[in-house]
């Protein structure tokens, strides 16, 4: 039996259930992000609009530049100022996604991407999304299955932890709801 657990990391992790929303916001829960700016906070919002991550001091990774760092690396700010993204530690990443299986399996062809919530190949509407795996040196504009972030193969084990940095920016005014994340992988 295979299963996924998605967590928004922080001082304490917040479980992201299937009906929950990962909310990218301005400085606080439910606050807006200026068009073309990136998230200053990240939260887990329940299906009834509650801030499930309140009290857990959730992590936030803010995209700064695609190639502006040392040797053309991507840069982000995860609370310590602007840094090259390969300096981030696992506990500082936005998401921890654990794939588990009752017997040991290897994981390959693993991808992570944002989509419109309906069709995996379709990019989310009016949002710029940047994602990277822990230790990556550059962000991927992970919008639609055809532009997905590629995750490193994982050797045979019962639990596989994947640490993801993710940041988002609105390209127009208004709340963005045609927006979801998916991880797709092969296990053998």
């Amino acid at each position: 039996m295979a299963s996924f657990v998605w967590l928004l990391q922080g001082t304490s992790p917040t479980t992201i259930d299937a009906t929950d929303i990962i909310q990218f916001a301005g400085a606080t829960f439910d606050s807006a992000i200026t068009v073309d700016a990136y998230n200053d906070s990240t939260h887990v919002e329940s299906s009834i609009g509650a801030d499930d991550s309140s009290g857990n001091t959730p992590n936030n990774v803010k995209f700064i530049s695609q190639t502006g760092g040392g040797a053309g690396d991507s840069q982000a700010d995860w609370g310590d100022g602007t840094e090259d993204i390969d300096a981030i530690l696992e506990a500082e990443c936005t998401l921890k996604i654990t794939f588990s299986h009752g017997s040991a399996v290897a994981v390959t062809a693993n991808t992570f991407f944002a989509f419109d919530g309906t069709t995996p190949a379709t990019a989310p509407t009016d949002i710029d999304v940047r994602a990277a795996e822990l230790a990556d040196i550059i962000f991927t504009q992970a919008e639609g299955s055809g532009s997905a972030l590629s995750i490193t193969d994982s050797g045979s084990a019962t639990d596989h932890d994947f640490y993801i940095l993710v940041s988002a920016s609105p390209e127009s005014v208004g709340e963005k709801t045609a927006f979801a994340f998916r991880m797709a992988l092969t296990y053998t």
């Binding site: 390969d86 696992e90 230790a135 550059i138 994982s154 640490y163």
Partner: protein, 96 residues
């Protein structure tokens, strides 16, 4: 060699004491920790925190690497860092 680390395939073949490991890629079957179809020495493989040993199959020969515990913090070997630079994705904006 410890778990909770990202390695290259060549590092793992070397640790398994495969003879002339760099010559094995693209010529026959290379399977590491259950990951099949490895054809490049800089193919990256993450070994999670709980991995104790790694099975390596090259052609019809089987090898094993026993790990010496797990890194406290996720680690990327220097060779894997080089591979990440070589394999970094093209910066191509998504057309909407």
């Amino acid at each position: 060699m410890k778990a909770n680390t990202k390695f290259t395939a060549l590092e793992l073949l070397t640790a398994a004491k495969v003879e002339k490991p760099e010559e094995k890629f693209g010529k026959g079957r290379v399977r590491i920790a259950g990951v099949a179809g490895i054809v490049k020495p800089n193919h990256l493989i993450t070994l999670g925190k709980d991995v104790k040993k790694v099975d390596v199959i090259v052609g019809v020969d089987k090898f094993e690497v026993v790990l010496e515990g797990s890194e406290e913090v996720f680690t990327v070997t220097e060779e894997a860092k080089k591979a990440l630079k070589v394999n970094k994705p093209e910066v191509t904006p998504v057309v909407k």
